[in-house]
């Protein structure tokens, strides 16, 4: 294929993509609405000097507080990270660290193409027609699943107990990218670069699709969740709190640190963050104290400069006041819940799973977690479910007795559901 043919191929691949009507007008309208004028030379120099001085003052203050630099060694008081070879789920002091995968997984590429699976059995299925038909995926992956993520319109990464695999939808082919069998959460920007959280709470990074994984210090350990919203901004969450980066991971700073009172029974076992953009996000913290379990939802509207506890399942002393803060007891209690799915700057949903009762409740908030509206999930006798959302369609994946995968879709943000299988 010569260069002329190559150019034709590029044109054929991308020319069909067009901006929507009025897109250019909207773009320039935004410029027209900008209240700031571009600076002239004199104002530019003065402005730059003022900004530089302000930054110097702020930096000096932050350095004095020890907040700017990522810690180079384990801060006093925190447990030493587990050995890299330890793939166990156990955290500090023998309390189980809930850094394990959820029971069910869903990854929606668009409203038609979805991967769904059960982490325990490793059952994995693919639909390309919006859930009408499903194809069981077989290959080298036969054991437990940990995470699924589409990294482009043809490629999904599947983290399993047998390693990290790349699945190509066009060829139905599998490629083993890494023998690491402890990658419980994936956050890849594309098929080549990304990060993962390990079972031991480490953060690893790759620039070659997962073949090489390098541990990164994010100023927090253990980590149970990490999320990037841009090339420069990311948040990592764990039982100790939340850390964030503004410079692509070069430095990390703590945004939220938990200080349990002496003699506090129980501990935070898992944390999750979910950001809609660089400003608005949620965090979810699980707390376990003996038989008592509970979780608290926090929210930020300023990129994590301030985190406010908004809602919780609060019963039997879990979570304790130092974690709960002023959160309202607005969520129904259940021993398990799915990952939080952030659907807007102030809105999110999750599935509360009352496993012993075999019931599930879908709860949604539209006011940053303060108030929740809950409705019964569209099945009975089912196991823990998870939800995923992309575009107009919501997807629910769960385990339904001997029937295996339960899959349902909702076109109206969870108000109504259609069971797709069984």
């Amino acid at each position: 294929m010569d260069e002329r043919e190559l150019r034709r191929a590029f044109g054929a691949a991308f020319d069909a993509s067009r901006p929507s009507a009025g897109a250019a007008d909207r773009a320039f309208a935004r410029v027209a609405e900008d209240e700031m004028r571009p600076y002239g030379t004199g104002r530019r120099l003065a402005g730059a000097a003022a900004v530089a001085l302000a930054l110097l003052v702020v930096a000096t203050l932050l350095i004095a507080r020890g907040a700017l630099s990522a810690p180079r060694s384990t801060p006093a008081g925190l447990p030493a990270p587990p050995a890299a070879a330890d793939r166990g789920w156990v955290g500090a002091a023998g309390v189980p660290l809930r850094n394990q995968p959820p029971p069910s997984l869903a990854a929606a590429l668009n409203d038609r193409v979805v991967l769904a699976g059960l982490s325990g059995s490793g059952q994995l299925e693919l639909t390309t027609d919006g859930g009408t038909t499903w194809t069981a995926l077989h290959g080298p992956v036969g054991g437990p699943l940990f995470d699924l993520q589409w990294v482009d319109n043809d490629t999904a990464l599947v983290s399993t107990d047998a390693g990290l695999y790349r699945f190509q939808r066009s060829t139905s082919g599998w490629t083993r990218m890494s023998s690491r069998n402890d990658l419980v959460r994936l956050d890849f920007a594309d098929a080549v670069s990304g990060v993962a959280v390990t079972a031991a709470g480490d953060v690893v990074e790759t620039q070659d699709g997962g073949r090489t994984l390098t541990t990164r210090d994010v100023g927090l350990h253990p980590v149970t969740w990490i999320q990037w919203v841009s090339n420069t901004r990311a948040w990592a969450a764990g039982p100790q709190g939340i850390a964030a980066t503004r410079d692509g991971g070069a430095t990390w700073s703590r945004q939220l640190s938990f200080h349990a009172p002496p003699g506090q029974a129980g501990q935070v076992t898992r944390a999750q963050v979910g950001f809609r953009d660089e400003a608005n996000g949620f965090a979810l913290f699980d707390f376990v104290s003996g038989p008592a379990v509970g979780f608290v939802v926090y929210h930020t509207a300023d990129g994590g400069a301030t985190w406010t506890p908004e809602g919780c399942t609060c019963a039997g002393g879990a979570p304790p006041d130092w974690l709960r803060g002023g959160a309202a007891a607005a969520l129904p209690w259940a021993p398990q819940h799915s990952d939080l799915v952030v659907t807007g700057p102030s809105s999110a949903s999750l599935v509360s799973n009352d496993v012993p009762m075999g019931t599930a409740t879908i709860c949604s908030t539209a006011d940053s977690g303060r108030d929740w509206t809950c409705a019964a999930a569209p099945y009975e006798g089912g196991g823990p479910a998870s939800i995923a959302q992309r575009g107009q369609l919501w997807w629910m994946v769960g385990r339904l007795g001997a029937s295996g995968l339960l899959l349902a879709t909702s076109p109206d943000a969870g108000a109504t559901w259609t069971i797709r299988r069984p």
Partner: protein
Amino acid sequence: MVTATTTAELLERSVAGDRVAFERLFRPLYDDAFRLAAAMLSDASLAEDAVQEALFNAWRKLHTFRTGEDVRPWFLTIVANQCRSLRRARWWSVQRVAEVVAPSRHDPGSADRLDLEAALARLPRRARLLLVLRYYLDMSFEDIGAVVGASPTAVKSSTHRALVKLRSEWAPEVTD
């Protein structure tokens, strides 16, 4: 077509805060900017967002533009950087999705198109950018160098390596 003389005038007026002049200067670049963003992000909606943000950034940074240089590569640099930032936007990673191609572009009969997109997506970002600028936007090595901050010679060499890599990832059907 905006002549060199009027470009200088439009630029001067834009820097002074004339939004009409700014639009006259950059409106002709919108289509190329969208094509670049669409090829880098494989998503028309995201591409719109990237170009809109890039235009806003160009408006705010116009005072840094060096008079006498070509505004097109300067602006496409801003677009490319905005794409890079957006590509890491993982707010939906909680829902386990990726940047997607608009469904309407999925022609079941065009396996080659899908293969090329998939092959491009597997390349490092810089390689993808070089190939898109060269073979989709038809830019010269000089102009590409202005976008990526490298000499034309270096760009030519890097583009060749990227092309070799692309060909190893992509095997279009050969029709007689």
